[in-house]
Each structure stands twice: as C-alpha cells, then as structure tokens.
Point group: C2
Chain length 119, copies 2
DNA sequence: GGATAACTCCTAATATTTTAGGAATTATTT
DNA sequence: AAATAATTCCTAAAATATTAGGAGTTATCC
C-alpha cells in the first residue's frame, strides 16, 4: 500500500468519514484555517493517482469516495509501527503497552471477555 | 516532543542502538546505499537542534549520544497512532488488533501470565 | 615533512510536499 | 442576459526534507 503524506491523509480522513464527498463538503469538515478549494482538489488528484479514492460525476460535479478502506489503512499503519519498533510483533507491542501502563490488566481482561462474547 | 522525519529517524535509530556513536560508526550501521559523511552530519545537527542528541569531543572528534530515550520516542509514536486512529484509546487499539487477528486470545493470555509473574 | 585521509563548518543543490492562482467552463442569481 | 459563484484542469510558487559539496583544519601515514 502506498504511503500518504500528512496533508493527503487529512483529506483522506474526511473522505472516509463522509464516504461520498464533494470538495465543498470536505472543506466544511476541515479545521481552520480552511484550505483553498484547489488545494483540496490537488490532494484528491494525488489520492486518485495513489488509488485511494475514485470519483464520478454526480450531476455536473465530481463526488469522491474511498477505494481503500480506512480499516485497511489503519492496519497498514499499525504494521508500520510494529515493523519499526517491535520487530513486527504485535505481542511485543502489547507487552510494551502493558508495561508502560497504557493498558492495565483489568482493562485487558474485561475486553477479552467482551470480545469472547462477541464470537 | 518534536517529530522526526524519516531520514532523521533512521540516523537516530542507529544512535539509540550504539548509545555512543561517531559519524563513521553510524555510516557503518546504515544499509546500502551508504549516505555521505556530511549527510549524516547534517542530520545529527538537526537532531541536536531538536534536542534528540548531544555531542561531546572525545579526543578530537565528536561522539553523539541520545538525549531522548528510544522508549520515550516509541511511546510517543504509539500515542500518535492512538490519537489518529483510535481516539487516543489503547483499549480500542487492542480490540482492533484482536479482531483483526494480529493478536489472538491465547497469545494475550500467555502474555498476561508472563507479565503478572514479572511483578 | 609532504601526501593522504578524517573531521568540522558553512552552504546550497535536488527532491518532495504543500499550497493555491489563472483561465476556461458551467451553473446560479438578480 | 449580465454579473456572480462554483467547478475543473493546468501550472507553479512556497515550504520543507534530503543529500552532499567545498574549504579549511587537524590528524595520520610513508
């Protein structure tokens, strides 16, 4: 999967949220200072070339929608983190987070029970 | 904590590994194609300005060593990932990884037992 | 001790990322 | 229908990141 730069990803996040988005909609969702219309347009073109979004005419304007799912991209980002800092091992990350108190044992147990129930 | 760019981080990783490093040592540790001596020097200067490394003369040459610990930087990167994709929640990341089969229940239970023993 | 290599500091070329303007076209408002 | 606003496409300026050369200095080798 291609990498996204920070600015590209910011636009992509909005597309993921909206699922179908006109440039105008995207600008609405973005925090101040709002980027110019054409700035968003440029990023969408890049995202299209990276095959992250597709577009189609709706009436006489283009609507953009995700080609890559947010989940897939998130997974890829995790993979990157695992690769860089944890020898690719999710267990290592997990241990680290417990040791660093990002997660504590009770939380993990509760979650495990919940996740088991969902099976 | 300041962000590091990709190339800066690559150099930083070597400094973390070596703990005390001359530019020469750093180049030795880097994969082909080896960067030029001065390239590494430039990144070390940036890392110094971002207060990631300090340097001192040893004999007549500078040795570089980490000011920020690798662990702290890793933690920060995780925090970034949590913020971007998991509303800042480690539990959310954990659930996601279990659901996406990066982690399975047995692994988690084994690890939990090990971690408990270490207390 | 002159030549060769290593190191330091300063500087800049190159590449990439970010931002957005101009011109043409189409729609919308009055 | 003339003026105003929105959209599209092309293009490039501005900002940032990456790479490394040049010149001077210091150390090392023969």
């Amino acid at each position: 999967m291609k990498e996204l730069t920070k600015a590209e990803e910011q636009v992509m996040q909005v597309v993921w949220t909206l699922k179908q988005a006109f440039i105008k909609d995207i600008i609405d969702q973005m925090p101040e200072p709002k980027p110019a219309y054409n700035t968003v347009g440029t990023f969408l073109k890049i995202l299209e070339s990276k095959e992250f979004v597709s577009r189609k005419k709706l009436g006489n304007t283009f609507v953009y929608s995700p080609l890559v799912e947010r989940k897939a991209y998130t997974k890829n980002s995790i993979k990157g983190l695992l690769g860089k800092y944890f020898e690719g091992s999710a267990e290592n990350l997990f241990s680290f987070m417990v040791q660093e108190k990002d997660l504590n044992m009770e939380q993990v147990e509760d979650l495990m029970n919940k996740l088991k129930d969902n099976d």
